[in-house]
């Protein structure tokens, strides 16, 4: 593989990312899936980078899940999006930063639609006015939260306590990067590096000392697919997508998987348990899985944050072997304790997948 070929493509897909003063919109599902990620993002931006990032208590879902699941009509979706814009405008912000990839896709799609069909924008303005009496400005800058971390990857590296380096061998860790489909597949020029060779996570991995693996099924979807996962009978199809990826990446012996979407880390993490139970197959070393991280969790780890504050105890595949590889300090005793030191209970051990409890 020729690195310069990818670099040439990355040069073509640059994108403007605002420097400060962000209006942050959370994901519907991430706080359940990976509860420390969004908090960590805010902490890094405020405490490490000194940025102004604001979130509104009345912000709601973008309806992306319902929209992609065929239960929310497009007009409703656009009106809800308009309401988020109105809250941003009222709060005095112009730079919208969604936490969710599908929200990012939704906002991009809506802004693109309005750009091409101004009459649709006017119609939605009327809907919002009639329903709520609100008005709004379209964001001046739209960037996904991973774009922001990408933008400040060097600043984070400068403050980092750890690197993506195996402390025994001194070699870079091998990292699989997995990009959420709605990040750039619909609008390639809105993603850093485009859709075929996205650079957003690769840039972080390289900056933080790791080495990116490009394996044949890299571009394949994790299989979340909203309806596919939500209906139990369809979950096999969802799991099969992740399975295809694991089979393809296994020979490269990746140390970890890095993701930038709410659904992908959930499924790439949890399906490793399900596949182990159903097929008896595991993808990491010694019967363990391949640990899966969000970019906020990984940034937090590099910065030396307590892994249990990052929410790593909620992962199905244990993160301890990876932390040991890097040399990250952690206290196993407090893994399943809440903030006040009370025990949360210890999860049941899987029958096949080897985990650290």
């Amino acid at each position: 593989m020729k690195a310069e070929g990818k670099q040439a493509i990355w040069k073509e897909y640059q994108k403007e990312i605002a420097d400060d003063k962000y209006f942050y919109v959370r994901s519907c599902v991430r706080q359940n899936f990976f509860p420390g990620s969004e908090t960590t993002f805010l902490r890094i931006l405020r405490e490490e980078l000194g940025k102004d990032i604001y979130e509104h208590a009345c912000h709601t879902t973008c309806t992306g899940i319902g929209y992609h699941g065929d239960i929310v009509p497009v007009d409703t979706m656009m009106t809800v999006v308009a309401r988020q814009f109105a809250m941003m405008t009222e709060a005095g912000y112009e730079n919208l930063v969604p936490s969710c990839i599908t929200s990012f896709g939704i906002y991009t799609e809506v802004m693109d639609t309005w750009h091409h069909f101004p009459e649709t924008e006017q119609k939605v303005r009327d809907y919002l006015w009639k329903a709520t009496g609100r008005e709004f400005q379209i964001p001046k800058n739209l960037a996904h939260a991973s774009d922001i971390v990408f933008k400040f990857r060097k600043e984070i590296a400068a403050k980092a306590k750890y690197q993506l380096i195996n402390k025994e061998t001194g070699k870079p860790l091998k990292v699989v990067e997995h990009i959420g489909c709605h990040y750039a597949k619909m609008f390639p020029d809105k993603g850093i590096g485009g859709a075929e060779y996205p650079y957003v996570l690769t840039g972080m991995i390289e900056e933080w000392g790791g080495e990116v693996i490009d394996y044949p099924e890299r571009r394949h979807c994790c299989g979340f697919g909203f309806r596919q996962y939500l209906v139990q009978a369809n979950r096999g199809y969802s799991m099969s997508c992740s399975h295809k990826k694991f089979e393809s990446m296994k020979p490269y012996q990746p140390d970890l998987i890095l993701t930038n979407c709410p659904g992908c880390p959930m499924f790439l993490d949890k399906w490793q348990y399900a596949i182990a139970e159903l097929e008896g197959k595991t993808y990491g070393a010694n019967g363990q899985g391949i640990p899966v991280f969000t970019y906020e969790e990984l940034a937090g780890l590099m910065l030396g944050y307590n892994p249990w504050d990052l929410g790593l105890q909620m992962h199905q595949v244990s993160c301890e072997p990876l932390m040991d590889k890097i040399g990250i300090e952690y206290n196993s005793e407090t893994k399943y304790h809440d903030k006040n030191g009370n025990s949360l209970g210890v999860p049941e051990k899987p029958t096949v997948l080897k985990v650290s409890l």
Binding site: Q232, A233, N234, R235, G236, M239, S240, E277, L278, T351
Partner: protein, 111 residues
């Protein structure tokens, strides 16, 4: 093993690197006109069996060439060997002999 109420789906993708090309390799040598099929479907349009069953010689030839051979025996058993496909073929594929050779390969490899 647990039961979650779902399981891995069968992969529909033909994995050409792993598929079984024994029938193809046999027929290619025994009846070389097998190679010149252009998958136009004239054989299937005229096929006596194909009008009343799922038998589709055009598709079967394509699938054998890709190494997808599950169900070939059952499909082929519907052929009445009337020879109309050979008559109709615009490319000169000896389809009747192709069918004989596929049958021979099925026997040879106990497929």
């Amino acid at each position: 093993m647990k039961n979650f109420g779902f399981s891995l789906s069968k992969d529909r993708q033909i994995d050409f690197d792993k598929s079984d090309k024994r029938i193809m390799d046999f027929v290619k040598i025994e009846e070389p006109t097998f190679n010149i099929c252009i998958a136009c479907g004239t054989c299937t349009a005229t096929c006596s069996a194909g009008n009343f069953t799922e038998m589709n010689l055009r598709k079967m030839i394509t699938l054998i060439k890709r190494g997808e051979i599950t169900g070939v025996r059952a499909e082929l058993s519907k052929c009445m060997l009337c020879g109309k496909c050979s008559l109709a073929c615009p490319r000169g594929v000896n389809t009747r002999n192709v069918i004989f050779k596929i049958n021979q390969a099925l026997e040879k490899y106990s497929l």
